[in-house]
Amino acid sequence: MSKSVGRNAGVLTIVMLGILIVGQGHSSLYATAITVGLYALLGVPLGLIYGCGGVLSLAQAAFAAIGGYASALLFSHYHLPPEATLLPAIIVPALFAYVVSRPILRLPEMSMALATLALGLLVEVVFSSSGGLTGGYEGVTGLPPIPIVGNSRVGVLLLVWSAVIICVYCYDAFRTSARGRALIAIHVDRLLAESVGIPVARELSLLFAITAGISGFVGWLYAHYLGYIGPGSLNVHLSANLLFMVVVGGRKYSLGPVLGAAFFVFAGDWLPGSAQAHGMVFGALIVLVLLLVPEGLLSLVQSRFRWKRVASRPIPQSSQLSPEQSL
């Protein structure tokens, strides 16, 4: 079981090295790979809590925005350097997520999606409307670059992708641990999880807060990589796209969100026409993938391995039987 834990992280390391080599000749590849990495860094934790735990969150970009803004505001109001704001950028969204999670995470999937969507939009409204504090619609500009790696593309690439690789490794390690089994049990059936002593609400809140913390880190990276953050940078559309990336790539695989992120970014680069028109093609593509490969693109590659297509079996699952029916 634990033998293959490092495999996916290894695959990703090789991909990163490949990008580093190929990118020597095509410098635009670095920028693209950094974007993919940032999305993947948001997507992999979402893939864990959604794919394994059934937490359908549309607030991930909002958590990233909170992290980014935390850093940007500490810089613009108190002149704190990014080194000093890293911790607040992670902790503030994590705490926020922990505090709001209890009433939201007890909801069934669709309601949870709706509630997190509303939460994300509220965060957006707060950032764009508190003009004096957050710079309103203009956002905050002139942020210093990421410490150590500075403005070096290769440096940023290495940093972002290393973080992704670590996340993928942690995902795989977690999923095969007792805690991971507990998370899957929560997803399958909360009563089952409670019947073996899993404190469902606390466990979900904790994981939700951790993903929010990682999102906050991405917000920090984003803000200091671009030197700017605004209310439109990390918005609800990004949250929705992240969910698409997870599902399109494969929500049951640690590499699924990475593949999904690559698919999105490369499709965006290669599609003809203006960026505005891409939405039409994207939308259609998403519907097609959801329809034809509901387990995600990675399932096409991995179907021969252990995680097989989910066949329907006459076993009661939380989504089919309400508690009172099946007790």
């Binding site: 079981m1 634990s2 834990v5 490794y169 942690c170 390690a173 977690f174 095969t176 641990s177 007792a178 805690r179 991971g180 089994r181 507990a182 899957i184 049990a185 399958v188 059936d189 009563l191 089952l192 999880a193 409670e194 019947s195 073996v196 002593g197 899993i198 404190p199 469902v200 904790l206 989910v310 066949a311 079996r313 076993i315 009661p316 699952q317 039987l321 099946s326 007790l327």
Partner: protein, 254 residues
């Protein structure tokens, strides 16, 4: 050392599911809970395990009042249960299903779980071999690597019992464990239950299969419409006129 429920009452809207039930379960004892459909047997389970909060009454375990404890906390006090409809992850293996049962007794450090620390991996390997042992000890012949969703109902119920036993409970509550399973599996189940009781576990069994419980249990409790209609020696309960009328009248009609 016992579970003692006092004066439990549960109402669902207009339905009175339990109406002043007093009940005790000692460690090492096998007690059968019988009664017609809708008598409130599962509801009594739910009250004891904390799935349903009673409208009145208290639950005391080993002298401590746990009436306000959540379901998952009570498991840590040594109360394990199964469900009338088996609940498993259909996509996981039998082994994983049983390993889930160890949850209350394994350490699950947060960072160790994420980074695959040595101690977590060792605990994992440990648990895996203990699950294998438990499965073979209980006489379950199902292949542990089989998908839980592919099992027969009988095998599934046995896996659930194994999962409930994995945590090393003091009290084991089984909701219709013999319903819909073949004689062979019933035999395995009876052995498992006897062995558990011999190990000092108090077992409470809800069952419609009266010969099965009468044979197994030292004491029967007959629940009718949320009240205890009769209790005591199996032979006495089964010949109690009040209970016979309720039960046989019910099953004749149905």
């Amino acid at each position: 050392m016992k579970i003692a429920a006092r004066d439990l009452a549960v109402r669902f809207g207009g339905i009175t599911a339990l109406d002043g039930v007093d009940f005790e379960l000692n460690r090492g004892e096998i007690v059968g809970l019988i009664g017609p459909n809708g008598a409130g047997k599962t509801t009594l389970f739910n009250c004891i395990t904390g799935v349903v909060a009673p409208n009145a009454g208290s639950v005391v375990v080993d002298g401590a009042d746990i009436s306000n404890h959540r379901f998952d906390l009570r498991v840590h006090l040594g109360i394990s249960r199964t469900f009338q409809t088996p609940r498993v992850n259909a996509h996981g293996t039998v082994l994983e299903a049983v390993m889930l049962g160890f949850n209350p007794i394994v350490k699950k450090p947060l960072f160790g779980s994420f980074f695959g620390s040595r101690s977590v991996r060792k605990a994992e390997a440990d648990m895996e071999s203990r699950a294998h042992n438990l499965i073979s000890e209980l006489g379950i012949t199902t292949d542990p690597t089989k998908r839980a969703g592919d099992l027969s109902l009988g095998a599934l119920r046995l896996v659930e019992v194994a999962r409930a036993l994995a945590a090393g409970p003091h009290y084991l509550l089984l909701d219709e464990p013999a319903a819909g399973i073949d004689e062979n599996d019933q035999g395995v189940l009876a052995n498992v239950i006897r062995k558990a009781a011999k190990d000092g576990i108090g077992v409470l069994i809800v069952e419609h299969n009266v010969p099965f419980v009468a044979d197994l249990c030292g004491r029967l409790i007959a629940l009718v419409q949320g009240r205890i209609a009769a209790s005591g020696e199996p032979s006495g309960v089964l010949s109690d006129p009040h209970f016979v009328r309720a039960y046989l009248g019910d099953s004749n009609a149905g």
